[in-house]
Symmetry: C2
Subunit: 651 residues, 2 copies
């Protein structure tokens, strides 16, 4: 049971998330390109775990003969990756302090675009967690088919574990984060190399005993179907933008190092994705619910055994790492948007471990909900994914186009400012750079439309609907905070020069030791007071009235009838009558509260003080005071009272 | 969005559950035997919807040849029903004010037995809802196989609908409740009569196109298997005790009328159950996930069409009625146990519609959870069911045995009292009656053991574990309330004779219009005060200090450092230091609160007043006051302030 006592609370949270950290403890250190690759590439590289399989899954609708199309599709996606990489290198050089889509959009396209980018990114961070975890569970099930029935449970357990780890706060010590990435890269490189060499030697034979195809219905091969398969494959490009967010983490010259790392990452990603798709076709891999394509690849190359298991372990690890990057990025972006007043302010709070606890919890909750609703099924999650990524790609590229046009307006050697105020320097190559970012933007916009159209019925409609709704919600939140700020601004309001009249009401629920404490407090305030009892239960009211007269006897106890058994409504009418008589007075309601030593016991009582505080908060100049009485402290209380009576005889 | 404004709240709840009802509106009227049968028999009669099917499902493990055993099993269960009925008639005569297992156990066997009975009954009320709804969905799916994938959703939707209806409060107008019961009885009587006549005429042919068997594995027929099938069939007896709870509802002579109704119900139940099992065997019905045995019976007798659909509709309706009886019984028993101090007191509260809203909501939540967890699968729910029923049967019978022994100790014409104080009258036949109840008790105890053993691995273990845990929880709650009552008892505590010293602290989060309201209140209290600010964010703290000095200037603002960004911990230390200096003083914390017009907007703010109230409630003599400031009322505020300044020039 959770103890409300702060010491015990600390102990429980220590166990789970560790002791609190001081505000001053936030560290900063820069990292090498090798570590940077490991830290920022896991999201992009892990996409190869599902992209090939999702292409095959769509092509399978037109029969397994259509699988040969997977290779040209993979090459087209690799070409798109090349354009994106060149484009993003420019963004990295232009924004050495970090050039995520939110920042680039806000800086060049304005608030509205920034909000759209934020909506797109936050949606996709949630989906990155869901898709990566679902695919990770797929790999685990490929290795241990008996776990099939526990798919959702494993996924949720992984999310809970990651939530706890992230609430502890990951000290982004690159060395440790680098291990899974390089483990995956090494394993994958060896696997693909053996596969390609065996194919060259004519030694690569089709997989024996492939798993059952997930889909059986056969349609004819249409352009629409090919575009659908291409869209599925484009999920391989998710995560490419990660380095542009993380530029400040690199050694100086930061932009140069980050750009180099981006190029290296894209080359590796392209190589793995194309080779894997090529080999998957040649071993006759089948998209299946029982075994992932990576598992089939491992089985074809190493046979069923240790080699395959190691490959699956490496893939699962990097998928978990990819999900983990969202646990860093989502709370950070949410805090940024919340600080700008577009999301609830609580998202800017750092918890006891200096992390954005609310953001982490929100992300985990949403991702877990999605996994439960879609039964941790990767293929059902994929159609929701990537729209947001491509939308933010597009906004980021077009933001850069606007920026280059601003640069083009500068005279040589002149310096200027972007719309949002970041410095601009003249650049002789601005036209070329504008064209490159423009081409990138047009391509990603096209892919986004293709994705939205071809996947619309499979689930993309949800995201198409969700992003505008999120933007609406953001502006609602923004309007709210601006209104509240205007209402709260001091302007020329003076401090009120003299006290207002005060009417004090004692709310008596029953006559017991806690009531005596309440009366003691009221007496100590030194103001006249009036006791009232709300007769939710008329029989009890009669007993309370009699007991009050017998045991307290300080004035009459007013009984407020409550025919509908409401505690607050009769109180509200009573207070309104007092206010009508004396509009400037404060009405001060004193409410007793039983304080129990733990939350479980506290829940066995009504806690009507909190209820009254919540329900009467709309009444102007009505103030509610909770006077707690601690159960289990009666002995101390009696001793103190006796001592007091002894020392100061009554006068 | 939920408006906190009470008028709008009422409107929303009006729509869903109707306007509030006055406490005085609780009606009471008695009902005829015909209506009584309809009202109290739905639970028992509806059990026939699944009992036969569940017997066949177990026998199927030994192959369809074993189905012939279903008839002797049904006859054995009918014999058990006869014993139970004779036994319960005696209870009804002994307890004309209602003789449920909880009351009979408490009256004769003591608190512990009463708690066990309550645990058993509450568990079974939840299961009655889950099983009846699951079986109802089975009937719906038999009629509309396309709904198969929506099994859980339909079940949950039914529960939500029933919850809303019951929160409105069912005016137990027997006439309307009688319709589904008599509709079911009529339809079932016609169906079984046609079936039996056709069998007599040799015209009843086996079902064409029976559904697929749910289970295929074949084991040999063992005694254990037969006992398992018998246990499954005993679920037909659930609900037989309902009339003994409802005796006060009958016309005078109540006991006589209730006993007659019980006999009628048992005869009908036995006849339906035995004939249905007999016919199911002769048409070759198969236990299946796709089609219920009742649906197969309808199809064999009427052919696929209107007749079958009407039979399924009648069955679904009576199953829903059966679930609905738990919605009346669970909250009533929970309120009884809560009034005795064994369950949280909130369960005794009547909501705006005079019903036990907490109990209804709790029941609906638990039943829905169970349906979701077990995928609304009747066969997975059945092993959890009936243990509780048979445990309460047993306790009730043995309670009666104890009662007859007390009666036996009386002299002729002497009157006495039971353990709990209900009157006892001498009865010359006490020995016979003791024997009958004793035999009933032994038989139900045996069935309970058979059930627990044969169904242990299928899920009965959960209930075997749950009931003792519930009893433990009840006594924990009971001990808690007794401890609190002892701590609160006035004893000879006097009203404290003189005021205690008062130290007032103003908690300043920021300097804005709400802060001026807070200061105004503090000034109006007429006590000296000290303003403090907890420096969760050191930069903000500096700004607040400067603004305070500039705009308020009433004394110094103390800044409490908070290196771990906690709001309450520095406050706690500050208060502790004050208490150490002056142990008898009240520490009065004044906390500002922004009051927003609806709950959605309220959630966008920290509501730290509630947090502080919750977290500091363990500190003796520390009192927290919320001073709300209503956003959107600035204009009124300024106008009032101007008027006040005008009327009373500052002095």
């Amino acid at each position: 049971m959770l103890r409300s006592d702060s010491k015990s609370e600390l102990k429980l949270s220590h166990l789970l998330i560790g002791p609190p950290l001081e505000t001053a403890a936030a560290p900063h250190q820069s990292i090498s390109n090798h570590i940077g690759l490991a830290v920022f590439a896991s999201d992009a590289l892990s996409s190869t775990a599902y992209a090939t399989q999702e292409i095959l899954l769509i092509l399978a609708i037109a029969g397994t003969a259509a699988f040969s199309l997977s290779i040209p599709i993979a090459l087209a996606i690799a070409a798109l990756l090349a354009v994106l990489t060149i484009s993003y290198r420019q963004t990295i050089h232009a924004y050495p302090n970090g050039g995520g889509a939110y920042i680039v959009s806000r800086d060049n396209l304005g608030e509205m675009a920034a909000q759209v980018a934020a909506a797109a990114l936050l949606t996709d961070y949630v989906l990155t967690v869901s898709v990566s975890i679902a695919s990770g569970v797929d790999q685990i099930i490929s290795a241990a088919p008996n776990l099939l029935l526990w798919r959702v449970e494993i996924a949720v357990a992984l999310i809970v574990a990651m939530t706890i780890i992230n609430l502890r706060g990951v000290k982004e010590s690159g060395q440790i984060l680098a291990i899974p990435t390089y483990f995956f890269l090494g394993t994958m490189a060896i696997t693909l190399a053996i596969g390609l060499v065996r194919w060259l030697l004519g030694d690569l034979s089709p997989l024996i005993d492939p798993p059952a195809l997930a889909q059986q219905s056969v349609q004819s091969l249409t352009l629409f179907l090919i575009l659908r398969a291409f869209s599925s494959g484009c999920t391989a490009l998710t995560g490419v933008e990660a380095i542009s967010n993380g530029i400040p983490a690199f050694h100086e010259p930061r932009s140069h190092n980050a750009a180099q790392t981006l190029t290296a990452m894209s080359l590796i990603l392209g190589a793995i994705f194309v080779s894997m798709t090529f080999l998957a076709y040649h071993i006759g891999a089948m998209p299946s619910e029982d075994e992932t394509v990576i598992s089939q690849l491992g089985r074809a190359i190493y046979g069923a055994g240790a080699g395959q298991i190691i490959l699956l372990a490496a893939t699962t690890l990097i998928l978990i790492m990819a999900a983990n990057t969202s646990f860093a990025d989502f709370p950070r972006l949410a805090a940024l948007a919340a600080a700008d007043g577009f999301l609830p302010r609580q998202l800017t709070f750092r918890g006891s471990r200096l992390v954005f606890s609310w953001g982490i919890t929100l992300l985990a909750g949403l991702a877990a909900l999605l996994l439960v609703l879609l039964q941790a099924d990767t293929s059902r999650l994929i159609p929701l994914y990537a729209i947001g990524v491509f939308l933010s790609f597009t906004l980021s590229q077009f933001g850069m186009v606007v920026r280059w046009r601003q640069v083009g307006k500068l005279a040589p050697e002149e310096a200027g400012h972007s719309r949002h105020g970041t410095p601009l320097a003249f650049d002789t190559h601005w036209r070329t750079k504008l064209l490159i970012n423009g081409a990138g933007g047009v391509m990603t916009a096209l892919v986004m439309c293709v994705f939205a159209i071809t996947k619309f019925r499979d689930g993309a409609w949800m995201v198409v609907l969700l992003i505008p709704l999120l933007v609406l919600a953001y502006s609602g939140v923004h309007r709210h905070y601006r209104r509240v700020a205007a209402q709260l601004s001091l302007g020329d309001l003076p401090v009120r020069p003299h006290p207002s009249p005060m009417r004090t009401i004692l709310l008596v629920a029953d006559v017991h030791a806690g009531t005596l404490r309440l009366i003691n407090f009221a007496q100590s305030l030194g103001q006249p007071w009036q006791a009232v009892h709300v007769a939710v239960d008329p029989e009890k009211a009669e007993r309370v009235r009699a007991k009050w007269a017998e045991r307290v006897g300080l004035g009459e106890l007013i009984i407020l009838p409550s025919p509908y058994r409401s505690l607050t409504e009769p109180l509200r009418s009573f207070v309104q009558a007092m206010q009508a008589a004396e509009p400037n007075a404060f009405i001060h309601l004193l409410v007793g509260q039983l304080s129990l030593p733990d939350y479980g016991e506290q829940l066995l009582h009504c806690n009507s003080n909190l209820l009254i505080d919540m329900l009467l908060r709309d009444m102007d100049r009505v103030v509610v005071t909770s006077v707690p009485y601690q159960i289990d402290q009666r002995q101390q209380y009696e001793a103190r009272l006796a001592a007091e009576l002894d020392v100061e005889p009554s006068h």
